[in-house]
């Protein structure tokens, strides 16, 4: 069996250069890379990450646990995390939990056995911290899991404030808030607190309704929206806790003959791609998802290198005005 040294000799370069390319760190020219690949092919050399990881006692994998990859918000999270993980020469082990605590714990077992450099979790929160045992840094994004696990979130309270102020400035007299699921993402509840405080200060009547786990996974909120509109009259502004709900509010209003934005104004949350594809385009609270994901990956790498990282990080949000208001 041929070795790394054989490959380097055949190319007339140092072992360090070959190793640099295989580890995806440091600069190696495209020409040299091509030469190395050719030599590896001819010598039938197979690099062995496992031997390396075995000796280092640490792999270059980073685990990401999300509830679902097909959710329009989480698919963006996956895309960004994968980008930054790969940019830093690490590889992404993707785990989708379907919100099953049992499955999440099993994923932690698997990630631990694979000696990941760290785990980014953007999924279920209920007691998961009490059930996991892993010798690698964990960071949560978009939600706070426990005091012991560092978290990176956007400013959810401010998001709620911006949404309520915008709807009131646009002339709304009675507001509603549809939350994603207060049970699943406690930090996002601050969106409601911000919204509520503005309504109370300004003397604007408001109602709130909460979607459940089932709606979250299926991305179908029609029953919750219809119930809200059936039970409460006079609502002329709705702030939804994600853009997927906002899109469905538009569809239901259209079916009920309620004109947007004349009779109903809508503010979503997240600013996923759907907001500009949809008709009308959706006013929303933009999370700096790119910053959050970049920061999460860098924090995991810093932590894996035993550097200190902050326990709580909050990124600002902005209101993006579009056709629904």
């Amino acid at each position: 069996m041929s070795t790394l040294k054989d490959v380097a000799e055949k190319c007339g370069i140092t072992v360090t250069t070959v190793s640099r390319m295989l580890n995806g760190r440091g600069y190696v020219s495209e020409k040299t890379k091509k030469k190395i690949r050719q030599a590896m092919k001819e010598l039938n050399y197979r690099p062995n990450e496992f031997a390396r990881a075995f000796s280092l006692k640490k792999s270059s994998f980073i685990g990401l646990i999300v509830p679902s990859a097909s959710n329009l918000y989480f698919c963006k999270v996956i895309d960004l995390i994968e980008h930054y993980v790969s940019h830093h020469g690490y590889k992404l082990l993707l785990c989708t939990s379907n919100l099953e605590v049992k499955k999440e714990i099993e994923y932690f077992d698997m990630l631990s056995a694979n000696k990941v450099a760290g785990v980014i979790i953007a999924s279920h929160t209920q007691d998961i911290d009490k059930n996991i045992s892993i010798d690698a840094p964990i960071i949560s994004i978009d939600r706070v899991i426990s005091q012991l696990i560092p978290s990176i979130c956007s400013d959810n309270y401010q998001g709620g404030v911006l949404a309520a102020e915008h709807l009131i400035a646009k002339g709304c007299k009675k507001l509603a808030h549809i939350s994603g699921s207060t049970f699943l993402n406690m930090d996002a509840n601050k969106r409601y607190y911000g919204f509520k405080e503005v309504c109370e200060k300004r003397g604007i009547p408001h109602v709130v309704t909460d979607a459940g786990e089932e709606q979250f996974l299926s991305m179908r909120y029609e029953s919750v929206i219809n119930a809200l509109l059936n039970e409460h009259t006079g609502i002329d502004g709705i702030f939804t806790s994600n853009d997927i709900i906002a899109a469905q509010v538009i569809t239901i209003c259209s079916k009920r003959g309620i004109k947007i934005p004349e009779q109903m104004k809508i503010v979503g949350y997240d600013d996923i791609d759907l907001c500009t594809i949809y008709n009308p385009s959706i006013t929303t609270i933009r999370q700096s998802l790119n910053d959050i994901c970049e920061y999460a990956v860098e924090s995991i790498i810093h932590k894996a290198e035993n550097k200190a990282i902050p326990s709580r990080v909050t990124f600002p949000v902005t209101l993006i005005e579009r056709e629904t208001t």
Copy 2:
């Protein structure tokens, strides 16, 4: 350092049972799993997948290469592949190539170094087969990469036939087809051939326009759609090569005051979640994505076990009628 044997002894069970749980294969009761986790924690035992993979010369990773994780179609692919990979006790290494050939080749280097059990590729096709060297089975889904790489697709030709026949049956007199990108996915071109053949047989005038790589990555097709409607008059039915284009045709028709389905009928492709969320809901050609992904994962595992697998597999498609027709 404690061993697997110590854990088994502490639990009063066999090493095989502990190993079964760690590998995620075969049945282990929840009660026993809990006991094993507790013992591992107390003994500070860390299973080492690397040692195992090193001795087996093969890991339990399966690589998946897609152009983007945030594309509304590919996020569904990722979700399903991850589900089946994890169901079979394997783990998913996710690679998003952004359609860069260079990045795809680098991912193959990485997957090779990590001794993956196999690679599922649903991305760029141009000459990738000439540049890769990996000692593991490769399967392509949704596209045919080369004669040497087995592929699993849906019946794209039949999809085009169904779409054209449906639009004609609904009374359309002049049809258009907007393709995703003929350059990127050659097998999907058959959608156009099926569509064209029906139009020609039935004497229905038709035009075709092609979106590019840029539109595919950004999921923004407005310029292509507007150009089509500006350059051709009398079009009353459009068949789009994916549902994202169909959604944007709806938005543009609405802005232009063209009524759907009265003045314009639309048939999309794929049946992604957007079809039923959108207003109006989108008639589409449903791909059996679940079957395709399940079959792909099982084929990789069979191939990794040196079993024979077919070189070409085609799953049927169905037309799902909704409000756009």
